[in-house]
Structure formats: C-alpha cells, structure tokens
C-alpha cells in the first residue's frame, strides 16, 4: 500500500497546473455561459499538453486511463475552475467508445485525444431522476435500420458535440437494467431537436427530443440491449472525475478564504484572528482532508470489481456532496458580501462545487446506493 503518485503523474500534474495558471482566467468562466460552453483555445491547449491522452490507456493510443490519472487531471481542472466538457467527451464518450466501439467507431478516439472531436452522452430522461437504468426512449428495428424516439434531459455539451451517444431501450421495462442499447449518432442528424441553455455550474446543456431518428445497425455501440454494465462503469469514472474536480474547486475556495481571513481587517484586526471564524476554517481544512481521502479511494478502486468500485464511487460522491456544501457555504459566509459577487472568483467555484451535486446522482442518491451495496 502506498499513496505516492508515480513520477509520470507528478509531471503531468506540474505541467497542467503551470499551463492553467498561465492560460486560464476568470474571464473564460463567463465565456462558458455562451456557446459553445467552453474556451476553444484552452481546449486545444489541453489536447496539445496531452491531458486528454492521459485519460486513455495505451491500447487506445493514450498513456494513462486509470483512476489515478483521472484524479490528477480533474483535481487540476477543478482547482483552476475550468469549465470544459472533458468528462463528457473523454470519460463518458471516450470511455464508451473504448469499451464498446468497433474499429470504425474507435477511430474517433484519436480525434478526441487531439482535441478535434467532442461527444455528449444523451442518456438521462425527464422521469428518471438519477436512476442509471431508467430509459424509456425506444429503439425499434424496421426494414431500413433502427428508429429512435424519446426525450433526453439536461444533456451536457450537446450543442458543441460532434457526436451524441444516445441510449434507447430495445427490450424490458423502463427501469430494467437489461435491454438498453447505445447508438453513436452525428449530432446534426435529422430527428434530433435540441433546446440548449447555459448551466449554473458553467458550460451548456440541452433538452433533446428524438423524433423518428433513423440510424443504421452500424450506429449501435456494442451488442444490443447490453449497455448497462458499461454505462455503470463509465459513470463510476465520471463520478470519480466529478469528485476530483470538485475537490480541486474546494481546495481553491478554501485557499481564497484562508487568504481573505488573513488579509481582510475588521474592527481593527484580521478577521481570521476572530476565533469563531478561525475554528470554522479549521473545520473546513478537516473536511478537505476527508474529501481528499474519498477521492483517493474512488480513484484507487476504479479498476476493482463492480461491487468494490461502486461502493467507493458512491461513498465519494456522498462525502464530496456534504463536504462540498460545507466548504462552498462557509467560504461565502466568511467572505461576506464580496463572496456573493460574480466578479470575485469564489462565486464561480462555489457554483461548480454545489452544482456538481446534481450530476451522476446527488448526496442522497449515493447514500441510498451505499446502503444497498453494503446490505448486499
């Protein structure tokens, strides 16, 4: 057992941190409210730096792809407050292509690593909340291919994506884990209607209506009706990525708060010298260590057996949800009014931290899942 990062990952961490310090600015955050939902220059910079390749294994042409790589990359992105669809394109899109794609479909991975291809996963539905197996969109075979119909909710990165991966049911009840298929479809295909909008946590998403979308058999990603286990696998990776990015944002929020307490004066002395605030700052630092450990556990067990992986993913998402809320709220409170302003960096971090709770299942959802997994 050891907790040290490998030499390669320390180098990746260093170069990414330096790159983001030089290239990333709060102004970019505001840009992320408008299409395409991220900074295009930053995106190609990340690709050039090899950040995306670090999220793929050697067999896909990358040089990483393990939980530890995800943790390193996303913690840095989160620290800098980056809004960019790395989870959607690399972890979900790339992860599904790598696990399920045929040789044609896998060719997209090179484009992803080079920064020239973007993906969005159109999976969640209006009535599904956070249930991963809930798919009521239907895929019905007919003579000239397969016809898809359904509604997809808050599909992050939909408008900017070159391809959508759409989940639809070929068999079974709406919440059955069997019977779900995935289809790789160009985002401009006929039958896809999008209404896109900005997100509170940064970036953009869309409500998607799929209306008699005709796809060929070749569009199916993997065998028919068997997508759920792989969806669960890439979702665990996405949870790890989200937790690591949130941890990064929590670290930056705590840093800002610590600096503010040390420099801001009230009643003639630094407000950090007021014991009530000092003790709450101490509690934030303790929470941060807990969050760090939870991310390590999720990342370190991502390649483990299903039960172990899911247990640690749910534990991390729950703990990050709780400690994230604490740190976001306490950071704003201890800053006072300035922490409420859009201009100051903290608000952006706080939005990213809190809104991460709404992706891939919230604090309560993962507590229930943890209970179910430990009772089993």
């Amino acid at each position: 057992m050891n907790f040290d990062l490998s030499q390669e990952r320390v180098m990746l961490q260093d170069s990414l941190r330096r790159f983001l310090r030089d290239r990333h600015s709060p102004q970019m955050q505001n840009a992320a409210q408008y299409p395409p939902g991220y900074d295009a220059g930053l995106w190609s910079g990340l690709a050039e730096l090899g950040v995306f390749a670090a999220l793929f294994s050697e067999k896909d042409g990358g040089f990483g792809g393990l939980g530890a790589d995800i943790a390193v990359v996303f913690e840095e992105l989160g620290r800098a407050g980056v809004t960019a669809p790395v989870t959607e394109t690399c972890i979900l899109g790339g992860g599904l292509l790598s696990r399920l794609g045929d040789s044609n479909q896998k060719e997209l991975i090179t484009g992803i690593m080079e920064g020239s291809c973007q993906i969005a996963l159109a999976h969640a539905e209006p009535d599904g909340r956070y249930d991963l197996s809930f798919v009521s969109a239907r895929a019905v075979p007919q003579s000239d291919g397969i016809v898809l119909n359904g509604q997809k909710s808050v599909v992050v990165n939909a408008q900017a994506a070159d391809f959508l991966i759409i989940s639809a049911r070929e068999d079974g009840a709406a919440d059955a884990s069997e019977g779900i298929s995935l289809f790789l479809v160009p985002s401009g295909a006929d039958g896809i209607v999008m209404r896109d909008f900005a997100l509170v946590g940064g970036g953009r998403a869309a409500e998607i209506s799929i209306e008699n979308l005709l796809v060929s058999e070749a569009a199916r990603l993997g065998p028919a009706g068997a997508a759920f286990p792989v969806l669960e696998e890439v979702t665990a990776a996405a949870i790890t990525a989200t937790c690591a990015a949130t941890l990064g944002a929590m670290i930056s929020a705590a840093d800002l708060t610590r600096d503010y307490l040390a420099t801001r004066k009230q009643f003639g002395r630094p407000i950090g010298s007021f014991q009530a605030l000092a003790h709450r700052m101490a509690d934030m630092m303790i929470a941060l260590e807990q969050a760090r450990s939870a991310v390590i556990l999720a990342a370190g067990h991502l390649e483990a057996s299903r039960d172990v992986r899911e247990l640690h993913a749910s534990a991390a998402k729950n703990l990050i949800g709780r400690t994230g809320r604490l740190i976001a709220e306490e950071s704003i409170q201890m800053h006072g009014g300035i922490g409420m302003t859009a201009e100051y960096g903290l608000g952006h971090l706080a939005r990213q931290i809190v809104m991460a709770d709404h992706r891939f299942g919230d604090t309560d959802h993962h507590l229930e899942r943890f209970i179910a997994l430990t009772a089993a």
Binding site: D131, V200, R325, A342, A350, D364
Partner: protein, 399 residues
C-alpha cells in the same frame, strides 16, 4: 395560553385572503413563486394597491397612515401574503426609515416624508455599508462637511439593495472626523438625483443585479435633511438595527418555500415513486417543517411580548439566525428536489413557452435562489454579528 386564533383574527384572515384574491395579479404571483426578479413597476403597483387598502404600513401608528396592527394580525397578514406569493413589500422606506422618522424626525420631516413613502412618490434605499467596512458599521468613512445651509458629502456606499430604483437614500455619514468610532456620525437623507451621485450595479453569483455601489462626489445636501442631532446618528442607526423589524424570521417565506419543495418533490420521480415518498428526502423535509413550526411560534411569542415601541434586540437576533438557517435549508431542499433540473441557468430552459420540449419539473430557478439567498446570513447584520449580540446579552446580570 391559547394557541387558537380568535374569531376576530380568523375574520381578519378571511379579509386578507379576499383582498389577495381580488387584487393580486396571478401573473405577478407566478413570477414571485418562481423567484424571478420583479420590475420597479411590479413593486410600485403592489405598494399602491396595499396603500389604497390602508395596509401598506402595518406597524406604523394610525396618525401617520399606518394600520397599527398587533403582532398576531401582522403574522397572519405576512403568512397569507407569502402563501399567495405576493411581492415582498420593499422595506427601506416602510420598515426602516419610517420608524426612524417617527422617533427622531422633526414634525416637518414627518409631515413631508412619511406621506411620500406611502404614496410611492419616493423610493428609498439604505446607505449603511461601505467597502472595507462589512459588518463593522461604525468604521464608516463617508464624510459630510457643513458648508452654510448644506452638507457636502463625499464617499462610497455599497450593498445598496434595489438602489437602481431609488430616488432617495438614507445614509450614515461622518460629520466629525476627530470623534472616535460611533461618535461623530450623522443620519442624513440624500436625493439620488443630486449632481455627484453615481449608482453602479453589483452582479451577484446567481446572475442577479439587485445590489449596487453608490458614489458621492461633492454632493450637496440641505441641512434640513439631517435626522436627529448632528453627530448623534448612531442613536438612529442602533434604533433602526434593533427596532422590531417586521417579519425578520421570514416565516411566511419559509412556509411558501416549503410548499414549493413539496410540490417539486411530488412531481419528481425517484425509483418509480414520487420523491416525496422517498424516506431520506421526506426526513429532511419533515425536519425543516418541524423547525419551522417551532420558529413560527417563537416569532409570535417574541413579537407579542414586545410592547409597541419596544425594541426586542437580542430576540430579533435569535430570529434572524434561526430564520436564515431554515430559509437556506429550504432553498437547499428545493435545489435537491429538482435534481438535474436545478442545473439550467435562469429559467430559460424551464420556460417551455418557446419550444415544443417538455418542462418536466415545476422547478423554477431553484439553484439561483439557493445561491442568491446565501445573502440572508450575510446582509442586514451577518449571523456572526447576531451571535455576538446574543452572547453579549448573556454577560449582563439578572439573566
């Protein structure tokens, strides 16, 4: 002890409901319910309706055109207004300046300014906070120097809520620089249309622009706009801060907010059932509801106890802290209840009117409200300041 409402009180409640049903525009109520920002006209129209009915100033004495209701009536009125999603009455003129003028203003000032508050002729805002001062009000640096029959005001105020709509601002200014801290401060009424006044909006993290910075550069203010004595403005300020503020606990807002949470939870499905039946979520909602029931009673007890004119200082601090904790918890519950539908920025994605796509959850901009209401525990005397006031009160004898 009798926890039931009397017949008179029940009749009053019916009267309020009848008024709301007749006068409150449903479209306006819907915007309030969804937490959207209201226009200046929205506020002014609602004030005018209340004023026409004689209900705009519940806690002013009748001689000044107030309703002079007791605590229970005020509670009923606030509760019904909140549940009907009536716009919140803008408090700066009615709840803050009004009582100060009634207590410290000259007869001329009262005769001139009070009717204009009721009529809406003046929209007031508050010039207390300054950049760099935060909760430490007494360290303020805006100055007013006497020059004949005018004061010349220089300085900067911040966190001025709805200042963009106001034509008047009441300010704490320093009239004696040699005096220390809370001495040498005066309470001054300033016309925002005077040359040298500039207002700039501050955008908050939820995207809203309700608060402002206000600059004063050599602004001339007639000396008759001084309230109370020169250099004794701290007395007015303390009175305003600790004076019985209507609805400081925000019970009505919390009740309406909890109803909204329940409605969202009934419409959100989780594991094939409504979220409202999920035991974990139901437990959080129930705990908030239990806390709110108790706080509503605490609020009534405290407000009843305070005789007219008496300032329940420490109790209002308790209500402020507990009230914001509950309101913020309810905002958090609404955010959770909406699930992925809390993510869209603003209500554009949820509006539904401009596309054929569904609006599956009746959520509204719950995340923006969550972030916006972090202000509740910061502005108007932060919760830390309130705790300090409570702790201080415990040191005295006879407790």
């Amino acid at each position: 002890m009798d926890l039931n409402y009397s017949e008179h009180e029940e009749n009053f409640r019916s009267e309020v409901r009848g008024f709301l049903a007749a006068e409150l525009d449903p479209a306006l109520a819907e915007n309030v319910r969804l937490g959207k920002q209201l226009s200046k006209q929205d506020h002014e129209g609602w004030h005018a309706k209340l004023n026409a009915r004689g209900w705009l100033a519940p806690n002013w004495p009748e001689e000044h055109g107030g309703a002079a209701w007791d605590a229970v009536r005020r509670h009923i009125f606030e509760e019904e207004c909140a549940l009907a999603h009536a716009p919140r009455v803008v408090p700066f003129g009615l709840s803050m300046l009004g009582p100060v003028l009634q207590k410290f203003g000259s007869p001329e000032q009262q005769a001139f300014w009070l009717p204009r508050i009721l009529s809406g002729e003046d929209w007031w805002c508050q010039g207390y906070s300054e950049p760099g001062a935060g909760s430490d009000l007494a360290s303020l640096r805006t100055t007013a120097e006497r020059d004949g029959d005018r004061y010349i005001v220089n300085g900067q105020k911040t966190w001025t809520t709805l200042g963009q709509h106001a034509n008047m601002i009441f300010c704490l200014v320093r009239t004696d620089r040699s005096a220390k801290q809370q001495e040498g401060i005066s309470f001054l009424l300033i016309d925002m249309n005077s040359p040298g006044v500039e207002v700039r909006p501050i955008v908050l993290l939820d995207g809203s622009a309700e608060v402002n910075e206000v600059w004063f550069r050599d602004v001339g203010v007639p000396v008759e706009n001084l309230v109370g004595e020169e250099n004794k403005g701290w007395t007015c300020a303390k009175f305003l801060l600790t004076h019985e503020r209507t609805n400081i606990a925000g019970v009505g807002f919390s009740k309406a907010g909890l109803e909204a949470v329940k409605r969202i939870a009934r419409h959100s499905r989780s594991g094939g059932r409504p979220l409202s039946e999920n035991p974990h979520f139901a437990a959080r909602v129930a705990q908030a509801e239990i806390d709110l029931m108790a706080m509503a009673t605490t609020s009534l007890r405290i407000v009843s106890r305070a005789a007219a004119g008496q300032a329940p200082g420490v109790e209002s601090s308790m209500l402020k802290v507990q009230g914001t904790i509950i309101r913020q918890e309810i905002n958090d519950l609404a955010r959770r209840a909406a699930g992925v539908y809390a993510m869209p920025f603003g209500s554009e994605a949820l509006d539904g009117s401009n596309s054929g796509l569904p609006d599956p959850v009746d959520a509204g901009p719950v995340a923006a409200q969550y972030f916006n209401n972090r202000k509740l525990s910061i502005f108007g005397g932060s919760n830390e300041i309130q705790r300090q006031i409570i702790a201080k009160s415990l040191e005295g004898p006879g407790q």
